[in-house]
């Protein structure tokens, strides 16, 4: 039985990530974490790998986490929490614990797509009962915007800078949701904080399903994206409406789009709001806009062919 996701009800719920944390103002990750926690009614035990969220929410004597929370290292959030979850099973079996609880990882894309990939894959394969949330800001933001396996094609980062010879990142992103779904897990999805009802419904559905679940959530980072501080939600909305960031879910292998934009917008307005793409609008680099658009169209068409929505946006 989930509580209502109506704003008038949600405002009465306790925020389980306390204010006073040290994330940048306008950070997408803080919004994502709060939305996810608001959607879950049961007690939550959380884990984060080393990264922005971790270093800004638990420093020395201070913690923003009003729930049990653990950080152990960078490449192992999934298996660290799987260890906690396994102990929960062990203690439940021995009658030493009875309370129901939910296990949630909050990890960035570096800790998910790259260094944390092996342990994440193992956890998905072994079927641990946990929800893995990737807040995807498309680079190593905590260490200063180095490229990751989730950095979009064309983006200029500190290790894939737009130079006079190489115009930013020339490789595509890893398709992490499909990779996770390929582990035959019961639920994998993609969400955006601009569509909070969709995001929270996905979280509620995920935690109602036993076994491993994965949700990739767009998480704008104005420092790394070179955008305005208060544009996180505007950019997220454009990401969805340009189909750069389709909202969909894969439940037991069946793909379903959860939102189709009334009008699919061209990529430009999304790219233009972000300084990391500024160079691709310059003379000889404009082929990169076309190529980006082609990738987005191909992926969107592939998704459309797999699943039409059954509950379009209200």
């Amino acid at each position: 039985m989930n509580t209502s996701l109506k704003l008038k009800d949600l405002i009465h719920k306790e925020m389980r990530l306390a204010p006073g944390h040290r994330m940048c103002q306008g950070c997408g990750a803080a919004i994502v974490v709060k939305m996810v926690l608001l959607a879950i009614d049961k007690p939550v035990v959380a884990c984060s790998p080393t990264g922005c969220l971790e270093v800004t929410t638990c420093i020395s004597d201070y913690t923003s986490w009003k729930i049990p929370w653990i950080h152990s290292a960078f490449e192992n959030a999934a298996v660290t929490l799987a260890g906690v979850e396994t102990m929960y099973k062990a203690l439940k079996k021995r009658g030493k614990i009875s309370q129901d609880m939910v296990f949630v990882v909050f990890a960035g894309d570096g800790g998910t797509h790259d260094i944390g990939f092996q342990s994440l894959s193992g956890v998905m394969e072994r079927g641990h009962d946990l929800l893995y949330i990737c807040y995807d800001n498309g680079a190593y933001m905590n260490t200063g915007t180095q490229r990751s396996g989730a950095t979009p094609f064309g983006a200029s980062t500190t290790t894939s800078p737009a130079g006079s010879v190489i115009p930013g990142k020339l490789q595509l992103r890893k398709d992490i949701v499909k990779i996770m779904a390929a582990h035959n897990i019961p639920y994998a999805a993609q969400a955006s904080p601009s569509h909070h009802l969709d995001l929270m419904r996905k979280v509620q559905k995920a935690v109602s399903i036993p076994g491993p679940k994965f949700i990739s959530i767009l998480s704008p980072c104005h420092r790394g994206w070179r955008s305005h501080v208060d544009d996180a939600i505007t950019i997220s909305k454009l990401a969805v409406n340009t189909c750069f960031w389709p909202l969909y879910e894969i439940e037991n292998g069946k793909t379903r789009l959860t939102y189709i934009p009334k009008e699919k917008l061209p990529l430009e307005p999304f790219l233009k709001m972000q300084g990391r793409f500024a160079h691709i609008f310059q003379g000889e680099n404009t082929w990169m806009i076309e190529q980006s658009q082609r990738h987005v169209d191909d992926e969107w068409n592939a998704l459309l062919s797999l699943g039409a929505p059954t509950d379009p946006e209200k």
Binding site: K66, I70, S72, A82, V84
Partner: protein, 395 residues
């Protein structure tokens, strides 16, 4: 009480100890020569002889990460590894001790690559000596079994709450059949007792955060606190050993001292090579050569003063190391030298590297180092302080 002696391999002995202890969670990854122990334990799980939840992870890094999560969750946790597996855990070893996780890990000592080698060598555990883990070393299956049981009591002691690794020689002990005595299940279970969690993560009513960022303001103090806790391990390890003697009749000190009291020469060596040394010491004694042996059991923390008391009266001491620190003295030698340096009278010290990658350690090698110490003491001639022995061209 009649003793029932059993012939088992070291791995069988440790699997049996884990069966008796029945930990809550065991996360492990297969690596030779540890595999055989975890396979046996998996049989116990499959047959319902233990209630342990196994986490059969995809790497040793994940094994230790899973152990940390499970331990912080609030229960008893054990694992086992060898050589490169321990090396892959290295980052997480520091996290386990820094978070005060009382994890117990058996280490079947194995060489590190390259070149690839699966045989006995102490480079793995020596590489982890500064990680904040308590280290217990074991000469044979009996000692490994006893140490593993005592390890839980030391690790989980409320004043300690630190991880413990129990080392035994890969293949030489892990895969060789020796004679030993098991304790009964109920005696072991009573000795180890119930696990008492401290600030468990799974207590959702009292949420705690584990693993904060601590920078320049407090990190230094955190590490001082960790160092202080390590210093308090000696008393706890001694008390646990005393209690263990009352249930087993077997006495364990922080190290074993063998015929050292009236000796002129001494050998210091870890683990299985001590057995060969003791035989040759007995033989030398029959020929009038006064030689003895010191075999460290608790290597971390290291009992410097007590070791110095046991060795400072000798004329010469040869420290035999089964690992090297390339371009420096080997790890065990460094500790013995550090023990003896504050003493006004102290023996001449030799460092001999033996048995890397499973090279056999033979009685003639012990004989040779005894002779070397004898010659050196007589001639007062300085010998090469550090030298490899049992090299093939010298055979």
């Amino acid at each position: 009480m009649k003793k029932k002696m059993t012939a088992v391999t070291g791995n069988e002995a440790l699997a049996e100890a884990l069966r008796q202890i029945n930990p809550d969670v065991c996360a492990a990854y297969p690596i030779t020569p540890q595999t055989d122990m975890m396979q046996r334990f998996s049989d116990f799980v499959a047959d319902g002889l233990v209630e342990t939840e196994l986490m059969l992870v995809e790497s040793e890094h994940s094994a230790m990460s899973g152990c940390i999560g499970a331990s912080v969750g609030g229960g008893r946790v054990a694992t086992a590894t060898s050589g490169p597996g321990l090396a892959l855990m290295w980052e997480m070893l520091y996290v386990a001790s820094g978070m005060r996780c009382p994890i117990v890990m058996a280490v079947m000592n194995r060489a590190l690559s390259a070149p690839l080698n699966i045989h006995c060598d102490h480079s793995d555990a020596m590489g982890a000596r500064d990680s904040g883990w308590i280290q217990l070393w074991s000469e044979n299956a009996q000692e490994a079994y006893d140490n593993l049981i005592m390890a839980f009591r030391i690790a989980e002691h409320p004043d300690i709450r630190l991880p413990v690794m129990v080392c035994m020689d890969g293949f030489i002990i892990s895969h060789s059949v020796g004679v030993m005595e098991f304790l009964s299940d109920d005696v072991v279970q009573r000795f180890v007792g119930e696990f008492i969690p401290h600030e468990p993560l799974l207590d959702v009513g009292h949420p705690v955060s584990y693993g904060p960022l601590v920078v320049i303001d407090q990190y230094h103090e955190y590490k001082k606190a960790q160092s202080d806790i390590m210093d308090s391990v000696f008393d706890v390890a001694a008390a646990v050993a005393q209690e263990f003697e009352s249930i087993s009749g077997r006495r364990y000190g922080l190290f074993e001292s063998y015929r050292l009291e009236d000796a002129e020469f001494g050998i210091v060596v870890l683990n299985s090579a001590a057995g060969t040394c003791k035989d040759m010491i007995d033989e030398a004694r029959e020929n009038g050569v006064k030689v003895g042996l010191l075999k460290p059991r608790l290597f971390r923390p290291f009992p410097y003063a007590a070791v110095a008391d046991a060795l400072s009266h000798l004329k010469a001491v040869c420290v035999l190391d089964r690992s090297d620190s390339f371009g420096a003295f080997a790890p065990l030698y460094v500790e013995i030298a550090a023990s003896l340096y504050p003493r006004a009278t102290r023996p001449v010290l030799l460092n001999r590297i033996y048995g890397l990658g499973g090279r056999d350690f033979m009685p003639e090698h012990v004989e040779a180092v005894i002779n070397e110490m004898k010659d050196m003491a007589g001639l007062k001639a300085p010998a090469l302080q550090k030298k490899y022995i049992s090299l093939r061209q010298y055979l």
